[in-house]
Amino acid sequence: MKPRFFAFFLLGALLLMLATLSSHALPNHPQQATSKAGQNAPPPAKDTEPFPQVPRITAEEVERLAKDKGNVVLVDTDDSVTYEAEHIKGAVNIAYDPTVEAREQDQLLSALPGDKLIVFYCNCSHEEDSAPMVLEMWELGYDHDKVKALKGGLTRWEQLNYPLAGTDIDAAHGKGN
């Protein structure tokens, strides 16, 4: 049987190769790698809300909960430079990067407390960057009602003149160098 087995291949049975390589996409263009959806991409149509399964919470509700210290954890999903410049006061930073595997953030995400409401927000119009982080938190086992996305993101927070922090805010108030 052995010679026939080899002959099977020699006579031309095509081997499927690991087709994982056949659809290899181009490496990301630099602008794609660094831009935030809300900054460079056109906003989605008014009626479309990405990730509709992700629950939203209003800025007004978050602000009310934030006054009750410790009840809510805010997570800014912008890159660290943008976070340092301006973020919601008290927020921590876990940057959303669509170009890396979501689970590469798991060590950071799973360090967030499991017994508090966690609210992700982005500097984008329809939670394009914060909503995927909520989904990843669900994958990590966090309760669905304990993780939400801030509706309207940082923009809405600013519109309501709620507290901000960061170097840009310090500079505006004359606290910078």
Binding site: F9, L15, E101
Partner: protein, 437 residues
């Protein structure tokens, strides 16, 4: 965003090859200039880091600061002025040309499309037969995997290829497709590993081993499903040794990812199976994947002088407790003792007790590299409990497993010994296998 400010990367010697390699080199649009310092540098005494600064660039041999100034000021080369999309990597054909089995095996090894155990060569006929195990279309995209410098689509057909190579049968394919949603496996310099737990009636239908030797090389289903994870992770995840897989020691667990079934039939009354604990129905067929690094085994029989959960508590104190993650795997006899003798009426009660009783010193907690890179930024940003823990004296005791829901308990084994493992594996939400039938 272009700031038009000269910038360079400084990478340690362990990783600079990766930084200057093809994929990452072009990832930011133009080749970045690097200067390299010895490894390790994080967490080292200040004098060591100062020595690096006054030492030499590992790439050029120049004094480090001279290399920094040169890299920042030397005119751009023609290669560095490249713009637009980066060069495209060669795309492999879907089908290989005919060749001898020996040559094809060599090719698969040269390309690192294997785990270097012998594979079943994935002929078109074999893959077609494998695809009969699912109603899904071969070209359906299961997920897009972001790899260094790009992305790859993991399709049903590609997973079927891995299933063939691993030695699986068509009836295994839905399980392996569910597993594919969790691919690729961990890839970190700190040498991760994974755990695959099968829950629900499918354990018996496919004869997964949940009893004696559940975690050993004694069962086909456990073996082929676990192995398929390694094969699809390496191929779809483009993981090649010293190219983009940089696990300094690696983990032997990655050959099989600890694939086993829970011994649901032997659970004490009141203890729910893993998938039920995480929100699924008992009749659901679910695959759960965990990720971690460490596993510590009990040795010998349980002794009444020091109850089992005390030993579990002690052993868990050596884990980093990142994300409060832990998974305990125990023989049914251990579960029975914990319930009947020590009063843990459910898995959740045991998890809660461990969360409240595992302690470690602040110094031990902050002395872990993963904690340094995750919890320290949170502490500096004021997030509790990290901010308060950061201010504690080194010998102060903390309770690092703050989230009992992240401490999972799985019962497996053949009631031959009061044996258990504690691991630092964090288990992600399970995947419904029936969705992939």
């Amino acid at each position: 965003m272009q700031c038009k400010i000269p910038a360079i990367g400084i990478a340690s010697s362990n990783i600079v090859q990766y930084a200057t390699g093809y994929n990452f080199k072009y990832n930011n649009g133009m080749p970045i200039r690097y200067v390299s310092v010895p490894f390790p540098f994080t967490g080292q005494p200040r004098a060591v880091d100062v020595g690096y600064v006054s030492g030499k660039d590992m790439l050029t041999g120049q004094p480090l600061m001279t290399a920094v100034v040169h890299a920042l000021t030397a005119p751009l080369t023609a290669e560095e002025m490249v713009s637009g999309a980066p060069p495209e990597e060669a795309v492999e054909p879907r089908l290989l040309p005919p060749d001898s089995e020996e040559n094809l095996r060599r090719l698969f090894e040269d390309k690192e499309w294997t785990d270097f155990n012998s594979i079943i060569l994935p002929t078109e006929k074999r893959v077609t037969a494998m695809l009969k195990g699912t109603s899904r279309k071969p070209d359906e995209v299961i997920k897009t995997i972001n790899i260094t410098g790009g992305a790859r689509q993991l399709t049903v057909e590609k997973v079927a290829i891995s299933a063939v190579m691993a030695g699986a049968s068509p009836e295994h394919l839905p399980v392996i497709l569910a597993l594919a949603t969790q691919a690729p496996f961990g890839n970190s310099t700190s040498s991760m590993a994974n755990m695959i737990v099968i829950s629900g009636p499918i354990r018996n239908r496919l004869k997964f081993n949940c009893g004696t030797n559940a975690m050993g090389p004694y069962n086909r289903s456990n073996a082929v499903v676990g192995r398929a994870f390694a094969l699809m992770s390496k191929t779809a995840g483009d993981l090649r040794n010293n190219v983009n897989a940089w696990e300094t020691l690696g983990s032997n667990l990655q050959y099989n990812s600890m694939c086993y079934g829970e011994n649901e039939e032997a659970l004490p009354t009141g203890w729910d199976p893993l998938h039920v604990e995480t929100g699924f129905k008992p009749a659901d067929n679910v695959l759960s994947v965990g990720m971690g690094w460490s596993s510590i085994a009990s040795v010998g029989a349980s002794q009444s002088i020091y109850p089992t959960h005390f030993l579990m508590r002690d052993y868990m104190s050596s884990f980093c407790a990142s994300g409060s993650a832990a998974t305990l795997v125990m023989d049914p006899t251990v579960a029975g003792l914990l319930k009947d003798v020590h009063g843990f009426k459910s898995k959740a009660q045991l998890s809660e007790w461990l969360s409240q009783n595992v302690t470690k010193t602040a110094a031990s907690y902050w002395g872990n590299g993963v904690i340094q890179s995750t919890a320290v930024p949170f502490a500096l940003e004021g997030l509790e409990p990290y901010a308060s823990w950061r201010k504690l004296p080194d010998d102060a005791l903390i309770k690092p497993f703050t989230n009992p829901k992240a401490i999972h308990v799985v019962v497996a084994g053949g009631k031959v010994q009061t044996m258990w493992f504690v691991t630092d594996f964090g288990i992600r939400r399970g995947v419904l296998i029936d969705d992939w039938a």
